[in-house]
């Protein structure tokens, strides 16, 4: 006659469910913690970020619209889906929150990726043509315009048609 005795009676069903719920709760908490923590890897597009002050937020959004993604070269890091852009956003965010100024962050990026990283290039020897060319074109266009106007005025000043010219014109008009 043997009576089967469980050394450890199975816990009641309800408790098992309780455990599962608790595990789920802990899992959710972990996910929330990860989501709320400062971005560890990269900042994805449109990811909400926490700033301590409004100035920091302004600075961040100003800078990410001014820095070029050197992979997708026609995009700013604000809009680029490239991984590099995500890392650069993260770096701009971290440096902004750490209190670095706009110039310091731009210098940081320029030191690594060159002036090309700036959508707003500095006025230097090698960018002089870039900055001056609109005015240069304006001058060239202006000179050309003045020339044309002057020539027309000269033509107009040549005066009346001669008798034979007027007759020729009449003939053309009639279609002879």
């Amino acid at each position: 006659m043997s009576v089967r005795v469980d050394p450890k009676p199975a816990p009641p069903q309800r408790s098992a469910l309780g455990w599962r719920l608790r595990a789920l709760g802990i899992g959710l908490l972990l996910v929330a913690a990860v989501a709320l923590a400062a971005p560890a890897g990269a900042v994805s597009i449109g990811q909400p970020l926490d700033f301590e002050t409004e100035e920091q937020e302004e600075q961040y959004y100003k800078l990410v619209r001014q820095l070029r993604c050197t992979v997708c070269q026609t995009e700013t890091i604000y809009e680029s889906p490239a991984e590099l852009a995500a890392d650069m956003r993260r770096r701009v965010y971290e440096m902004t929150v750490d209190g670095y100024s706009e110039d310091e962050i731009v210098d940081f990026m320029t030191a690594r990726y060159g002036d090309y990283v700036r959508y707003n290039p500095p006025m230097q020897m090698n960018t002089a043509l870039l900055w001056v060319s609109p005015f240069l074109l304006l001058v060239i266009g202006g000179v050309a315009w003045i020339q044309v106007v002057r020539r027309r005025r000269l033509l107009a000043a040549q005066g009346e048609l001669t008798e034979s010219e007027r007759r020729a014109l009449e003939r053309f008009r009639r279609g002879d």
Binding site: V71, L84, A111, R112, G114
Partner: protein, 177 residues
């Protein structure tokens, strides 16, 4: 008549000339501001052994190449044989394994061979940002003092190795002695 078309024609030719020059330029070929500067610092795990930490000092000491590659990078494969050949000739080549997974990177080296002296594992591109890396493959030439003397963006081919990289290595080694 000739005078009248001369100006527009010459202007058009200038514009066409500029466009033609632009055609031959590679927009990926950005000048690196780091050329002429000391190689930036980093602290990363070795690809071969996570216990080992590599820093800038492990890359510096003699004339060396530093190649940035990844197993997912297709063009890296086309240039890999040049690294093998250069390593056989005794050129020291270090590497950053960039935004990769250790397992994939190890498998890549098993298949294509491992010509690298030290490989720093950089999955989050931390060193990548310090070194101004923006796309694989990229290759740096360091002199014995750890100054970056040249940067090649994109895969190397036989011409680049023969005409740019090897002469520079020889020149730097000559400077050293």
């Amino acid at each position: 008549m000739i005078k009248r078309i001369f100006l527009p024609l010459s202007l058009a030719l200038v514009v066409l000339g500029l466009l033609y020059v632009g055609l031959g330029m590679d927009s990926r070929d950005l000048p690196s501001p780091l050329v002429g500067k000391p190689a930036p610092d980093f602290e990363l795990e070795s690809l071969r052994d996570p216990e080992v930490t590599l820093t800038r000092d492990d890359f510096v000491g003699e004339v060396a190449l530093v190649n940035v590659w990844a197993s997912w990078c297709d063009t890296c494969r086309t240039e890999h044989r040049y690294w093998r050949q250069l390593a056989e000739r005794g050129v020291r080549i270090h590497a950053f394994n960039y935004r990769d997974q250790r397992q994939n990177a190890e498998r890549y080296l098993e298949i294509f061979g491992d010509p690298f002296a030290q490989i720093a594992y950089d999955p989050r591109a931390d060193a990548g940002m310090e070194w101004g890396v923006y796309a694989t493959p990229e290759t740096y030439v360091l002199d014995a003092e750890g100054i970056i003397r040249h940067k090649h963006i994109g895969p190397v081919n036989a011409d680049v190795v023969r005409e740019d990289i090897l002469p520079l290595i020889e020149q730097l080694e000559a400077e050293q002695t």
